[in-house]
């Protein structure tokens, strides 16, 4: 589903190298956790995969048989790549429902499907709210404006449910959440796990992995993947810390 080979990213205009040769293979339906200390390049990796501007990128990324790096941000999204932002962006004046419908219809158009009218869209919204067991209180507000940290993350998961991606990259969707919000978000992720949906779950803490069990765990440090293993690697990290792992 996703095959990354020797991916490097430098801050554009002569900045420093942040990703220093990443290799990663994610199969269909697999959930891979990427852990690592602050500043190790996790969000940069997520951003580069989603097409964020401002980096000089080399290496290859093949997604669903296509050259991902050659596609624009919105093309990637329409092809099924979804990034749950570590810091979701506030957009004053743009209603959440309006935004989601524009997004969903853009995706549907590109698949040759008909656009959903307001009624059909609302029906789908209700269905997804029910699936995730969340309330509709955020939907009529401007996108992310004045949302609490937990509400922003919940909104990201809701968008993922609506857009039904084939590859979801979740950037610290668990951080800054209290235990109830974490359960809500983790429950959402579990509900959305599917045979044809791969996930790259970036997290700083191992506690999310108590709720969402990954197929593989990788440790990113200094722009490189320094260790990979099954979920016991996460437990080992928890015990020794990143420093212990790097020393090993």
């Amino acid at each position: 589903m996703l095959s990354i080979k020797n991916l490097r990213a430098k801050v554009a205009d002569g900045g420093r190298e942040i990703l220093k040769g990443i290799d990663l293979e994610v199969g269909p339906g697999e959930v891979h956790a990427i852990m690592g200390p602050n500043g190790s390049g996790k969000s940069t990796l997520a951003g580069v995969l989603a097409g964020r501007a401002g980096y000089e990128v080399s290496g290859t990324v093949t997604y669903d048989g296509r050259d991902l790096l050659a596609m624009s941000t919105d093309e990637r999204a329409r092809a099924g790549v979804f990034l749950a932002f570590q810091y979701p962006v506030e957009i004053p004046g743009v209603n959440n429902m309006y935004f989601l419908r524009a997004a969903l219809n853009a995706v549907r158009r590109s698949r040759g499907e008909s656009e959903l009218d307001a009624g059909q869209f609302l029906k789908l919204v209700r269905q997804k709210l029910k699936l995730l067991e969340i309330s509709d209180d955020l939907l009529q507000r401007p996108v992310n404006v004045g949302f609490s940290g937990g509400e922003k993350k919940r909104n990201e998961i809701f968008q993922m449910a609506m857009l039904e991606p084939k590859l979801a990259i979740l950037d610290e969707t668990d951080s800054g959440l209290d235990i109830d919000a974490l359960r809500l978000v983790a429950n959402g992720i579990n509900k959305l796990r599917a045979r044809d949906r791969s996930m790259v779950m970036i997290t700083h803490y191992q506690r999310l992995l108590d709720y969402v069990e990954p197929n593989r765990v990788h440790v990113l440090s200094g722009g490189r993947i320094v260790a990979s293993g099954d979920k016991s690697l996460a437990l080992e990290l928890e015990a020794k810390g990143y420093a212990g792992l790097e020393a090993a």
Binding site: T73, D74, A77, R78, V89, G93, V94, A106
Partner: protein, 392 residues
């Protein structure tokens, strides 16, 4: 000197005004940012009478649809009129006189104007009036004047729309007098033909406790300007909001001057600009708080969005304060679309042009939302939407 002038009862007034008229230059402070190079060749004399009124479809497009007294002018002359409190200026020409503070184009208007609208509401009355100013002329002028007088406690909503076809020169002067505790909601849509010039100016005298709420949306004309001067009495309230949305090589100015001469009056002003391609937008806003105008509350803001590297904006918000016990603020911003917001929208699959349109719409809708009258607000939103859709 300009000529020929109509040889009617007003001829002495017209001649005096024509003598006073001097084309402004960039050395004149109120005009220093406006590109006037192409103006002189557009100063056409009035169009001959007899042009066709716009079709029913056009009239419907330039109406809010709410029940109202409706007036249609063609090239500045009344083509259709209704309503007990609405009269033709052509029948009340003695009301045409010089209006101070509105600059040279008010003088030009005095020299040339032959018709317009007189609205006068007695104390306590209430009315909704919609005026379509239709221009349909090649190399000719549409001069008109709108006189509004509201008695004490009277309330009116006045929706004026400017549209047309051709390279006409549109010139409209409005003189508004609001009696004590009267209220006027004055909505202006400037959607003139792309080849036209539009120079409009409004003078509002707002008596004690009265309210003047103006909104102006500038979408059309190759060169346009909307001047607004308001003089506020004690405890009067004034809201001036608006937007200019420009593309191609359009040039537009909103210039306002609010004079607080008496205490306890309030002004709030928000003007937004969206400027694309090689267009140029100008905001000049001055609020003067005279020494007697204690407890004045006056706020002014101009925000601009530049959508292309060759688009330009000049903005000059200005406060002149001679009283000490006042609350006043002003500010101006000029910026691009927010890259983080664009990326977020695009990361959900929304193509870049649509993502840009969504953000521009949000920016502009925010100020149109300040229009309190719902039918007028919906009407402006409809034209704003049309402007957005007609983008590239």
């Amino acid at each position: 000197m300009i000529a020929p002038l109509k040889q009617d009862a007003l001829i002495a007034t017209r001649e005096a005004a024509a003598r006073r008229f001097v084309l402004p230059t960039r050395r004149d402070e109120p005009w220093r940012f406006t590109d006037l190079r192409t103006l002189e060749k557009s100063l056409f004399p009035p169009a001959a009478p007899g042009a066709d009124a716009p079709s029913a479809a056009v009239q419907a497009a330039y109406s809010s649809g709410a029940p109202a007294q409706r007036v249609v002018l063609v090239n500045g002359r009344v083509a259709a009129i209704q309503g007990a409190h609405v009269a033709r200026l052509a029948e009340r020409l003695e009301l045409v006189r010089e209006i101070d503070d509105l600059g040279p184009f008010a003088a030009l208007n005095t020299a040339f104007v032959e018709d317009g609208i007189v609205i006068s509401l007695p104390a306590g009355a209430s009315e909704r009036i919609e005026i379509l100013h239709w221009g349909a002329a090649e190399s000719a002028g549409a001069y008109t004047r709108v006189l509004v007088e509201l008695g004490a406690g009277a309330e009116a909503t006045l929706v004026e729309s400017f549209a047309g076809t051709g390279n006409y020169f549109g010139n409209v002067i409005a003189a508004i007098r609001l009696g004590e505790k009267a209220r006027l909601r004055h909505v202006t849509l400037q959607d003139e033909a792309g080849a036209a010039v539009h120079l409009g100016a409004v003078k509002a005298d707002v008596a004690e406790g009265a309210e003047y709420e103006a909104f102006v949306l500038m979408l059309g004309a190759r060169l346009s300007r909307h001047d607004l001067v308001a003089c506020l009495g004690k405890g009067a309230r004034c809201a001036i909001n608006g937007a200019y949305l420009l593309r191609g090589q359009q040039e537009a100015t909103i210039a306002t001057f609010v004079d607080h001469a008496a205490p306890c009056a309030q002004t709030s002003e928000v003007v937004k600009g969206v400027v694309d391609d090689r267009a140029h937008g100008v905001f000049q806003g001055k609020i003067r708080v005279r020494s007697d105008a204690q407890k004045t509350d006056a706020h002014q803001l101009n925000r601009n969005l530049l959508l292309s590297p060759r688009a330009a904006v000049d903005t000059k918000p200005e406060l002149e304060i001679y009283a000490d016990d006042v609350k006043c603020s002003h500010g101006a911003t000029v910026g691009d679309l927010d890259e983080a917001q664009l990326f977020y929208l695009r990361s959900r699959g929304i193509p870049e042009p649509e993502a840009r349109r969504i953000l521009v719409e949000a920016f502009a809708v925010d100020v149109v939302d300040l229009v309190a009258d719902a039918p007028a607000r919906d009407y402006l939103m409809r034209h704003l939407g049309r402007w957005l859709e007609s983008g590239r």
